[in-house]
């Protein structure tokens, strides 16, 4: 089994409304040294081991489903699943 970890984040230029709200909550909790907060999505996908073209398919799944290319970017890492 392969474990693919996908990280989807907003493009730098896109407003991160949640990150902003979380940042001010963290400040109001007293941690004023937090300079910046960004929020994204995290996925873990398990793939069968004998997978032919894993990267190509992960790219397609990310492009078409997990990330919205208008506003988000993604990266991923492929690991051996325990």
């Amino acid at each position: 089994m392969k474990l693919v970890k996908v990280y989807v984040t907003l493009k730098k230029s896109v407003l991160d409304a949640q990150g902003e709200a979380i940042k001010s909550a963290i400040h109001s909790m007293g941690y004023s040294q937090v300079a910046d907060v960004h929020m994204g999505k995290y996925f873990e996908l398990n793939f069968a081991d004998d997978y032919a073209d894993l990267e190509k398919d992960v790219d397609a799944i990310c492009d078409d489903l997990l990330a919205n290319p208008n506003i988000e970017t993604y990266r991923y890492e492929i690991l051996e699943a325990e």
Binding site: Q18, A21, I22, A25, M29, M39
Partner: protein, 224 residues
């Protein structure tokens, strides 16, 4: 009986609740700002529905860090009446004043509809005006209203009669159809349905009125 309706940034059912108290059961009521540090002088605290902080991060998570919550916790621990509706319920679970959590509806979508609820426990400060097992019609409007708790917690809830309301039909996939639960002492109630939207026939139902009347009657009994 004097009520406080807590206003968090983004709360949007605060006025609905305010009017339900002022016009529905005709009791004194005030909006209390989330930055306020005192609930002195109030007999009941109401946490409204809506989208505090836009429901960002998790519904109710950011509100549970606001200055007023220390007071709400004190108030609850003193055995006084605390009612959280919809987002208010989410805030109460985030605060740990109620067990469990509210997660995304089973079908993943927001649902606005008037649903049938069963009054499971009618011997509480919030439900004494209802008959046991009475079925009432109350609107829901939520995207994250699926009640979740683990097995052990569920057993405790059942053993201690902490379940106040159940959905007749499980609209959102909640554990045991749970629509509203109380703390062990039963002075804190959280519920996803909106009784404050069901206090006038013209709006479709007045079945929510008895919930607020129950609170008043309970207070009268306590005071005597």
């Amino acid at each position: 009986m004097k009520f406080a309706v807590i206003n968090f940034p983004g709360s949007n059912c605060d006025m609905d609740l305010y009017y339900a108290i002022r016009d529905g059961i005709k009791q004194p009521v005030e909006l209390v700002d989330y930055r306020s540090e005192s609930l002195a002088g109030f007999d009941g605290v109401l946490i409204p529905g809506g989208f505090s902080y836009g429901d960002y991060l998790r519904s109710g998570a950011i509100a549970s860090q606001a200055p007023i919550v220390k007071e709400i916790i004190r108030f609850a621990n003193e055995g006084k009446i605390v009612l959280g509706i919809c987002n208010g319920f989410q805030i109460l679970t985030e605060l740990g004043l109620l067990p469990g959590a509210l997660i995304k509806n089973e079908k993943g979508r927001f649902i606005c509809e008037t649903v049938a609820l069963k009054v499971v426990n009618n011997e509480t400060a919030f439900t004494s005006e209802y008959q046991a097992n009475e079925v009432i019609n109350v609107p829901i409007a939520h995207g994250e209203g699926r009640y979740y708790c683990d097995e052990t917690t569920l057993k405790e809830l059942q053993a201690n009669n902490q379940i106040a309301f159940q959905y007749c039909e499980n609209v959102n996939g909640s554990v045991e159809h749970i629509a509203g639960v109380m703390n062990q002492q039963k002075n804190v109630l959280g519920m996803m349905p909106h009784p404050e939207r069901a206090i006038e026939e013209i709006l479709g139902s007045d079945d929510g009125l008895k919930l607020f009347q129950s609170i008043i009657n309970y207070q009268v009994r306590v005071n005597n």
